[in-house]
């Protein structure tokens, strides 16, 4: 018995080895290294990192830009409730027995599949203040009512750049992952609950609030927390392509600030400190998530 168990252990490590090496090299060690780096000052070019204690963190909390970009990051998360509400409404609509539902589902999924640089370029063109299709449409709608409507300057306007990115974000995510999760959750609500509510004379609106909403609340919680976790780390790709973080830093998020610090200004220690602040925030929300879902995530 002992012999076969040793054999099993050796086999197990054999199977684990490739992944374990990668895991140690590209995840475990870097996590520790970045923690160490956050207490150092280093430009990555001259000499080794210099230990500076908590200086990076003290600077960070006194850095007005850090607070500005934190505000931007949280502001952009307005897209989360909007997108979630949209996903839920869509899921309810798509949960009916209608013909062509698969086609609709695929079409709504299109922006999610095609996310990335191509989409950001497309929206940059859409938001063009003079020739973009959005402002042309706004002007045309104005014409219909005999008004001269002029759309905002969108990405070129400090006040409108964030809302522009939020609108694009909602468009991109509303029919995607969250809608599919909601759809699955809706299909899991027992039919009897609705029957019971109908016997009590509930109308559709009442049925939604009395049956559907409480039944799918774990999914709402899950999506909400995951989106917040993602939201704190989001915003680099679209801002890099569409605005370069501007105008006047109005679309720079924390991750963009980290990128600039690390790879444009060579403030490696400072960037690592930003990364660890992000980590702490994400950690808090993950713990929240685990307290609800923990049981199923751990061992069976």
């Amino acid at each position: 018995m002992m012999k076969s168990s040793t054999k099993e252990t050796i086999a197990a490590y054999g199977f684990l080895l490739p992944n374990l090496i990668g895991f140690l090299l590209f995840t475990s060690l870097p996590v520790l290294a970045s923690l160490a780096l956050s207490f150092c000052s280093w430009d990555a070019l001259s000499g080794p990192p210099v230990f500076v204690g908590l200086r990076n963190f003290v600077h960070l909390f006194q850095d007005p830009l850090f607070w500005k970009y934190s505000f931007n990051t949280i502001y952009m998360m307005l897209s989360i409730p909007l997108s979630m509400a949209g996903s839920l409404i869509l899921a309810i609509a798509l949960n009916q027995k209608l013909k062509g539902i698969v086609i609709f589902r695929t079409l709504y999924f299109l922006p999610t599949i095609c996310s990335g640089v191509a989409i950001y370029m497309l929206w940059k063109l859409i938001y063009n203040p003079d020739f973009g299709t959005l402002n042309l449409m706004i002007a045309k709608i104005g014409d219909l009512f005999g008004l001269t409507l002029k759309g905002p300057y969108w990405l070129n306007d400090e006040a409108w750049a964030k809302p522009a990115l939020i609108i694009m974000g909602v468009w991109q995510t509303v029919g995607g992952y969250n809608m599919i999760l909601y759809l699955a959750a809706l299909q899991g609500v027992p039919r009897d609950f609705y029957d019971a509510a109908e016997v009590d004379g509930a109308n559709s609106w009442q049925k939604f609030w009395a049956v559907t909403w409480p039944q799918i609340s774990p999914t709402t919680f899950f999506i909400g927390i995951m989106s917040i976790i993602g939201g704190f780390q989001a915003g680099f790709d679209p801002a890099y392509i569409m605005t370069g973080g501007g105008p006047n830093g109005s679309t720079t998020t924390l991750i963009y600030y980290l990128y600039n610090n690390a790879f444009n200004w060579q403030h490696m220690g400072y960037a690592a400190a930003i990364a660890w602040v992000l980590f702490v925030i994400v950690f808090i929300f993950t713990i929240l998530q685990w307290r609800y879902y923990g049981r199923s995530v751990h061992y069976h």
Partner: protein
């Protein structure tokens, strides 16, 4: 509510209500679908216009959306103006390598975690799980420095290797392997089949849906990956499509017809992958969302 109405009237009212509901649903869904598809339509239209005609006030609004001209040479031109063919090849090589590597190493590790016993297994698995919440931003800088030390910056290795090992893939496949029945394995063991034989001949064939899901997700993710290639690549000829396209934009920022043609060519393979694997994709979302 039904007092004073005959059964027939109630039935008729019910049916009218159902029809109204359907009409409303279709109207609402179609409107939404148009919003989703509209920008893509515009993308196609723009890519087929004469470069000078992108920003002209058209006579009718629908001419903005439906291709009126078909300047196919925009597509050909996009290939000539930038090393598009090279970007394409780079993207294919990198995405395929990442996908194969990730699926293979994840499946092997998941087999060890779900089917074999060894000392410290649960602790190690917990360590894997715990790293799933570490933001990419935390490891980004040290990994960059590490690659610099190895002299791998600006090479395929820098793009492929760090992306090849994920806790997520291991976790997802482990969850799936746990649901497989053990009888077949036990029978194979009695027949003297090795662990590797069991893994190759029993576990993998039974896990095709989960493997397809991971493959789809990984391929699409690495095809679209932007930030990491931007950080580690310097030479234009070695760019992948996303950063290649961004570079194209910085050079020819105003040439929207070419940009849109390039964008469409970038999206096309992803659309194909999605169309063939749609079923797995949806299952994967449910798997990671509900069980995870």
């Amino acid at each position: 509510m039904a007092i004073g109405l005959s059964l027939d009237q109630i039935k008729r009212r019910y049916r009218t209500k159902q029809i109204l509901k359907k009409v409303f649903s279709y109207f609402f869904l179609t409107l939404g679908a148009l919003t989703m598809v509209g920008p893509f339509l515009w993308m196609i239209t723009t890519s087929l216009k004469e470069p000078g005609a992108v920003f002209s006030y058209q006579k009718d609004w629908w001419q903005e959306w439906i291709p009126m001209t078909f300047v196919w040479k925009n597509y050909a031109k996009a290939w000539v103006v930038v090393p598009f063919a090279k970007f394409y090849i780079n993207s294919i090589v990198v995405s395929v390598a990442i996908t194969l590597g990730q699926v293979a190493t994840s499946a092997m590790a998941a087999y060890a975690f779900s089917r074999l016993y060894f000392p410290g297994r649960d602790k190690l698995f917990f360590a894997y799980l715990a790293t799933m919440m570490v933001p990419g931003a935390v490891t980004m800088i040290p990994v960059f420095i590490l690659l610099q030390k190895f002299g791998w910056i600006d090479s395929y290795k820098a793009l492929i290797l760090p992306a090849m090992f994920t806790a997520y893939g291991t976790f997802m496949l482990r969850q799936f392997f746990l649901t497989l029945p053990r009888d077949l394995e036990d029978a194979a063991k009695i027949d003297g089949c090795s662990y590797f034989g069991i893994f190759i001949r029993i576990i993998l064939p039974l896990s095709k849906p989960a493997l397809a899901t991971l493959t789809t997700f990984t391929f699409m993710g690495s095809w679209m990956s932007f930030m990491w290639p931007l950080i580690v690549m310097n030479t234009h000829e070695r760019f992948t499509l996303p950063i290649g396209l961004a570079y194209f934009q910085s050079l020819h920022g105003t040439d929207w017809t070419l940009l849109m043609a390039g964008s469409i060519m970038m999206i096309l393979p992803i659309l194909l992958v999605f169309m063939f694997n749609q079923r797995f994709f949806v299952e994967g979302i449910k798997l990671s969302g509900i069980k995870g």
